[in-house]
Every structure is written in C-alpha cells, then in structure tokens.
Amino acid sequence: MPKERLTGRPKMPQRPVKQRITDFDEVPTGLEDWAAVGEARRCLQCKKPPCMKGCPVDIDIPGFVALIAEERFDEAILKMKEKNSLPAICGRVCPQEEQCERECVLGKKGEPIAVGYLERFIADYEREKGIKAPVVPPPNGHQVAVIGAGPAGLTCAGDLARLGYRVTIFEALHSPGGVLVYGIPEFRLPKAIVAQEVNYVKSLGVNLEVNAVVGQTMTIDDLEEERYEAFFIGTGAGLPYFMNLPGENLNGVYSANEFLTRSNLMKAYLFPRYDTPIKIGRRVAVIGGGNVAMDSARTALRLGAEEVCLVYRRTKKEMPARIEEVERAEEEGINCIILTNPVRFTGNANGWVTGIECIQMELGEPDDSGRRRPVPVPGPEFVIPIDTVVVAIGQGPNPVFLKSVANLALNRWGYIETDTETGATNRKGMFAGGDIVTGAATVISAMGAGKQAARSLNRYINDPASFPQWRE
C-alpha cells in the first residue's frame, strides 16, 4: 500500500488558511493510509516502551502501532479500544507532544512516532466503516451513578458498563460531552465525532439522562434513595473567572465560556438558522494564552472579525496552549500582543466596550507554577481599541453540585479533595476525578481519572472494607 517511502515523521495535512478561516469545518484532514502505515513502520517496537509511561490511560501503543504497520486496521482499533473508548477525540485534542511522544525513544535523537496522528487515523478508519457494537457482559446487579458527561464521566461510565454495572450518567446540559461540546470548537473537534463516541459509550449499555442538574433537579441523597450504590463525580471546572477590572461588565465583554458556548453548543455561527446570537466586532481581543484563548481567537476570526489579537502577560514561550494550535492561530493571522496586561476596559455612552487599557510587563523570578512571574514595567498605560473582548484567563469549580453535598471535603482552591491512589472522596461510596479535582487540565488526564475511579468503585462494591476511611 505505501506508495512512497517515508523518511521521517509525516506532516499532518491541513486545509489552506484562506479557505479554512471562512468556515467551521475541521482544519487538519488526517493521514492517508500509506502515510499512516509508513509512519507506523518507523516504530522500533521497544521491549520496554517508554511511550506507554507517558500515557495516562495506558494504551498499548506499540501494540496498536504494529497492527497499523501490518495494515491490520480492524485489529488495531480493537487493541486501542481495550483502553480508550474515545480515540477519535484523543487523536485530535490530546497534547501528545507532552505525553507519549515526549517519551518516545525516537524523539531523543530525531522525531518521535506521531502517536496522535495514528490514533486519529485508526479511529477515523473505524468510523468510516461504521462502528460495531461491542459485546456487553450480563448485568452484575449493581447500580451506580455518574455525574457529568465530560470525558471523565464518559470514560468512567464506559469502564463500569464493561464490568456489568448498570450505569446512569446525569448531565446538566442538553448535550453530552462536557467541554468537548461546549468548549472545543467544531474546526478542531467535529461534534458529530463527539456524538459518535458518546453513542459508543451508550452502546455499552450506559443510560444517559440529560437536562439533569444534580444539586438542583435531584440531589445525591435522592439518588441514594433510588438505590444508586456508588457515585462518580466528574462535573468539571466550568465556572468562568473574570479579572475584576473596571468596565468588565460592559456590553461586548464575554467570558470565554459564554463566547464558546454560544458558538459551539448553541451553534451561534449558524444564526439565524439557530436562534442563539453572538456579537462580533471588527476588532476582537482575547485575553489569555491557553487552549481556551486560542479557540476563542480562532472562533472570532471565523465569525467574521477583521482583526483578532491575543493579549498575554507573559511571552509566547510560557503560553500554556498546545504549540500546534498557537502555530495554526498565527498562520491564520492572529496577532499575539505579549508582555501586556489589561487594567481597565473603556466603553461608549451606550455601554459598549471600545478599548482595553493596558500596561507593559516583564518577566521576573519564577513563581509557584515554575514559570517566570510577569511584573509591571513602570510607564504609561496604552489603549488597544477593540469592539469585542473575550476573557479567557481560566475557570474554577462550578459550585452548584458542590454546595448540594453536605460536608464534602474541598481543597484550598475549592476543588474536591480525593485520595490520589483511588479517587475516593471523604463521602462514603463517592469518587471524583477530572477537572473538578485537578482544576482545568486535559481530556486525557480526565479520562485517566475516570478509569482509575471505575477500578476503585468496582473494588469498593466488591470489598467495602478495603476503604477503611469510610467505616462507620
């Protein structure tokens, strides 16, 4: 099949900039068969594969790569799905460069195997062929509830269903997927793919109840009365942070969550065919430097902004966003204004934002996060004129669920405190994982936490005594 011999890591084919910024279709188009097979054949099949140590869900990387190399695609996907129910998602959004690919021995001297591209390749191959329903074991008679249908909850539910549990996921929004549906834009993660992977989880026998806000529509106590024996909490970090600067409530100032939710979940980019509007000015500024900021900036561009800039208080080197996404944003013409911090928003007489007053920053000593701390440089304030602002400086734990559970132990940042080995909370039979424990992190770490909790929960049901902290 390979029509050309590969000498090194393939480049991900992507749509030309001019074309892609006019719509919301996916930007990278995926490897072709020959390129995938060629890349898979570069793998050394290490005896002690270091790549697997970098993978939070323990995928048999050399195993599935070898099957691709042999063009046994159907088996490759089965191997993948032993550990990962959401490969088409992970293949698109995981920061492989910081995980498996960073550990790959080939990366030490040259270029690591493109594990992410191969994962995406194999998942897309299966999707095009039509996903086969998995074999589900007979029910084991136990009923558990999962709160939140993000990557953590979906993974936990899938793993529990495979063990024979009757699992119900309770999701607050009308659509399952968590950040995958409301946050990450269509051009990076098509929603049809999320839906298909959610359907796969459902095909394992998992019930999904949408429009169920746990803490409001029902409480954990209600669910206990309905004979749910154990719980997994995967409610994410969905509370938008603001900077508390003057003028932040002016019209035209969005939180990234609102901006992205309007566009992704509510499909405002299709307004007025879809009813939810979004306002986009000629000049848009996004404040922040993470994935959320990149997604907001690129969304603004596609919604018709003429100029989009990122305002970031450190330098490009410290930006937490994936390199690949920063590069794509820059290719698309997004301008990074670095070492700059907003101090105030200015507005017009009708209450609409017109500008951001900023100060210059420089990098000082490293802070808690290990990054050099930005400190203000004395000097005059300057104004960036804009019509729309998106504040993308981070998220916190959404309080709705947390407030509804009596005496749930939280850490000093307000996230749920858990036992790092098991994911157990201080409340009997309740486990938690994903962003609600770690703070905003990654899809794959949330999935890893979901898996870990599924294992612990299974142990708890079979041997409650192995959780001595919960003994009455």
Partner: protein, 282 residues
C-alpha cells in the same frame, strides 16, 4: 421531553402552559426558574416557575410573547412536546414569617410573584398585593392573586382597568398607611428599579427577581452577571432573587439590550419564513 398538558391564553400575548415534568415539580420552590429549548435549533429560554404541583407532577409557566422564541413557544398546543425542560434552577426565596408583606407584580411579572405571594401567605404573613399592566388587556390572574392576598390593588398605565397609574403610586400609599416588613417585586427592570428607589427611601427591605440575558442557567457561562452591592453575581446560581436596594439596574438595563438587533433579525427572518410557508400552502 416534556409534554404540554394544558394551555390557556391569558391575554392575546400572554400564555400559560402546564407541563408534565414530575422531576422538576418534585423539587420546585417559589423564586426558582426553568430553562427550556423546544426544538433543535432553539435557544435556551429561561422562564420563572409560576406554579407547581408535586402531586400531579406539573409545572406552570407563563410567558409574554416578545420575540421569536416566546412567539414560537406560544404556537405550541396541549399535547405537544418541549424538547428540553431543565430545572428547577436558581435559589428559592426564604420562606418565613416576616409580618406584613407587599407583593408587587408588573406585567408578566405577575406570574412569578404569584407563587411567592402564595407561599408567604401560607406561612402566616399578611399579604398585600399590587399588580399592574400597561392596559386592561395585558392584565391576568387578578382572581388568583386575590385568593392569596389579604388585600389586592390593581393598576393600569392607561387607566383602562383598576387605578390609573403605576404600581409605585399605590405602593407609596400602602407604605405610608402601614409600613410593610418586606416588599417582593417582579416585573420589567425599570419597574423593579423604581420600586427599589421608593422602598429605599422608606427603608423597607425589598426582594426583586432579575431576568437578564442568560444562556446555560447553571453558572457556566457568566452571561447573566449582575452587580449587586458592588460585587459580581451570577443571576442563575446566586439569584434570581436579590436585595433590590443593592442591584445596579442601569448596568442590567444596558446588558439586557445587548442583542436587540439580532433579536429583531431572528424575529423578522422567522416571520418571513412563516409567510412563505403559508403562501406555499395556499
């Protein structure tokens, strides 16, 4: 999916629907709201719970047809389904014995003030209610409000029914005659602002129920933020009921006008589509 089991036309533009939602009805409390989306392309529409019956498993909503979403909702009939119906959301109002409570409902705000008046009455408060509308044909639930109030006053801006004038006129008279221990006001932002200015003058504690632009309704988007006592609050999870004396109404008014142009566009394109469909049918 939630089935509409009854629909009443209260005035040409104000409709009532009783919806079969046992899960929401079981938990509903006065002051709370629901979010609904009635078809795939729809927006998430917040509406106050006007009434609820846990035994029957039903929730009542009352809405005024203003833009596309509420008009479209108004076209649904008993037997139709609402795609998504989420709730109850927000906090309930504190139910306790205050003494003399005045409940003020303006326009469609009569609906959300009703369950509060009823709850307060059942707790043994003496309830004086003032309801008002622009004109007689926009007024509804006079009898219902009468049933849960010791005294009821009715006003219309144009004098077509009840006393001519604004609810605040009557309120000032009531305050002077017998100072209330609490005022609860629900209605247009401007009305709640005027009520709050008045009650602040007389130092009467006042609760208002805010209705800003909202998307998710669960504290996730931050769109419904309001300034209360100088602090940022999210109406959907910190409210919708707030101390009326502390709300920045001018900011709320400005923010609630964010999407005027888009709302107009949505309504026009929908009316156009409907007209075309009608022509095609004819």
């Amino acid at each position: 999916m939630a089935k509409i089991i009854r629909k009443d036309v209260l005035t040409p533009q104000i409709k009532l629907m009783v919806v079969d939602v046992p899960g929401v009805a079981r938990k509903a409390k006065p002051g709370q709201f629901v979010v609904l989306r009635f078809y795939e392309e729809g927006e998430r529409l917040p509406l106050t719970i006007a009434d609820y019956d846990p035994a029957a498993g039903t929730v009542t909503i009352i809405f005024q047809e203003v833009g596309k979403s509420t008009r479209q909702l108004g076209e649904l009939e008993a037997g139709d389904d609402i795609l998504d119906f989420v709730g109850p959301l927000g906090k309930e109002i504190e139910e306790k014995q205050f003494g003399h409570v005045v409940c003020v409902g303006g326009g469609v705000g009569i609906a959300p003030v009703y369950p509060k008046a009823r709850a307060l009455k059942m707790l043994g408060n003496r309830v004086t209610s003032i309801i008002g509308a622009r004109s007689a044909d926009l007024l509804f639930w006079e009898r219902e409000m009468q049933e849960v109030s010791d005294t009821l006053h009715v006003t219309t801006d144009d004098g077509t029914y009840g006393e001519k004038g604004f609810v605040t006129q009557v309120l000032e008279r009531v305050i002077k005659a017998e100072k209330p221990d609490l005022v609860v006001a629900v209605g247009p932002i401007m009305m709640m602002k005027m009520v709050s200015l008045l009650t602040r003058k007389y130092a009467v504690p006042t609760l208002v129920s805010l209705n800003p632009v909202m998307v998710d309704g669960t504290g996730m988007c931050g769109c419904c933020r309001v300034t209360v006592n100088g602090e940022r609050k999210f109406t959907c999870v910190d409210g919708p009921v707030f101390d009326g004396h502390l709300v920045d109404y001018d900011e709320l008014l400005t923010r609630s006008r964010s999407y005027l142009e888009e709302e107009k566009r949505a309504l026009e394109s929908w009316l156009m589509k409907k007209a075309q469909e009608e022509i095609a049918r004819a």
